[in-house]
Symmetry: C2
Subunit: 276 residues, 2 copies
């Protein structure tokens, strides 16, 4: 099925703002998937096609729906990915560096001279194997995203508050900790914001929830053109609400079928449920 | 160390309202512990002393601090407990039925003619072995407390929203699901309220957090003399804040050393952290 960080992020963010993808696909990538992006007016000029097969991930969830167990990862054309940012992309103000080798994230940033906001994601593999490069990059990042285990691994702190504070010392202006069905945390040097997830009666597949969350978060910040504490809190609500759609079905089925009214209604319901 | 549901509950609730304990102790119960309750102006006339040893629980936490593993339970004098409610207690408006055999909970309620509010707690053991008695009792309960696993076990539903809705059909007016470090949920037939826990930099021992939470919740409701949706939401905040003190040290060390100002400051900090 169609998936991947760029896919979930783009479809989510596109509800708020124009989106330009940078990615690599293989010759096997179905034309219908590319048509899917174009139909949604997502800029695909940064998608390059290489000889070989597209990246493919296989995973399973059992019991704890917050963390997937990887069954197989086929890097394929992704292994040699060296992103070239098209000229039309160079003035992009909001940049999301999805989970990839931090050296590649660095090469992307070098090609975008003055972004207003950079948000990064990562995973345990890079924290363990490319730690130096990852840490070197953090001062350039406005918001660094982690799940709970990643934040603890990078900081060496078993407590999540201390873990986030340890990472803030490495340079990012803010740290966001994604906790799956338990919500998300936003840390800055002097404040902490904490929201639960949007509780659902039925969860089909959590794959893509994290990238969908990032799409709602950055999409919202891009649309409202602010990045103060109040805007960031709203952005976390939007990220949470967007992710709640993704998990309601496989692949992009649910996320791609909603409209602005669905989003607004769920944001209102979220507010009703969490008003102190 | 001093512990137990009645202890944590009473000390927590006493910050808000007068408290009367009903309990049984053995001849080994230190006089200093009884003096501790009296000093805090907690009514101990419902504590009876029986021949033998006091109930004793031993547990450990490893990794997941949300659920304890029981190492040993010595029922001792608790095995034959048949609570007799003193005459002076019979007009108590707010009753907390802590985790105990549902037949004993029933016998307590029979001795208190017209309580304004009854809150109950339970555990997996009673759900598995005294299910019929437990379910028979639920219609008399205004707020039924569960942790996530208990709610799923009682309802037979793996999704927490469906689990709570299933339990509401059994008769309690509200269901509260305690999720440890992930906060708490309040369900009524037509609304859902969801709050995170108070994030801490250091957690020493979660033992007693659930009963401390119940103490803050009922203590607050007793003080404000309301039980509408707004009061209940505030009550959950107070329960959450009180529990956050308990887990900061062993036994009652931290919970018993705070004052009204500590509580108000933490409630304010909680509001700052969770304002949407």
């Amino acid at each position: 099925m169609l998936g991947g960080s760029a896919t979930y992020f783009s479809v989510s963010a596109r509800y708020f703002s124009p989106v330009k993808i940078v990615a690599v696909i293989g010759e096997d990538f179905p034309a219908s998937h590319l048509a899917f992006f174009k139909k949604r007016d997502i800029d695909t000029r940064g998608i390059i096609t290489k000889k070989g097969k597209t990246f493919r991930w296989e995973g399973e969830y059992s019991g704890d729906m917050n963390e997937a167990r990887t069954v197989a990862t086929h890097l394929n054309v992704f292994a040699e990915f060296d992103p070239v940012i098209p000229a039309e992309y160079k003035k992009t103000p909001h940049v999301f560096l999805a989970n990839i080798d931090p050296r590649i994230q660095e090469r992307v940033l070098r090609q975008i001279p003055r972004p207003r906001l950079v948000v990064s994601d990562t995973m345990n593999y890079w924290i363990l194997h490319k730690r130096r490069q990852l840490v070197r990059q953090l001062p350039r990042v406005a918001i660094a995203l982690f799940n709970e285990g990643e934040a603890k691994l990078l900081s060496g702190q078993p407590n999540i508050v201390q873990a986030a504070q340890g990472i803030l010392k490495m340079g990012p202006r803010r740290v966001v900790v994604k906790r799956g069905e338990h919500g998300a945390l936003l840390f800055s040097r002097d404040s902490l914001f904490c929201i639960p997830a949007f509780l659902l009666e039925k969860i089909i597949d959590p794959t893509g929830a994290g990238d969908t969350f990032a799409g709602g978060l950055i999409g919202y910040l891009s649309r409202c053109r602010k990045c103060d504490d109040a805007a960031l809190r709203r952005a976390l609500v939007y990220g949470t609400v967007m992710a709640s759609f993704t998990v309601e079905d496989f692949s992009l089925r649910r996320l791609a079928s909603i409209n602005q009214r669905d989003i607004q209604e769920r944001v209102k319901e979220f507010e009703r449920r969490h008003k102190l």
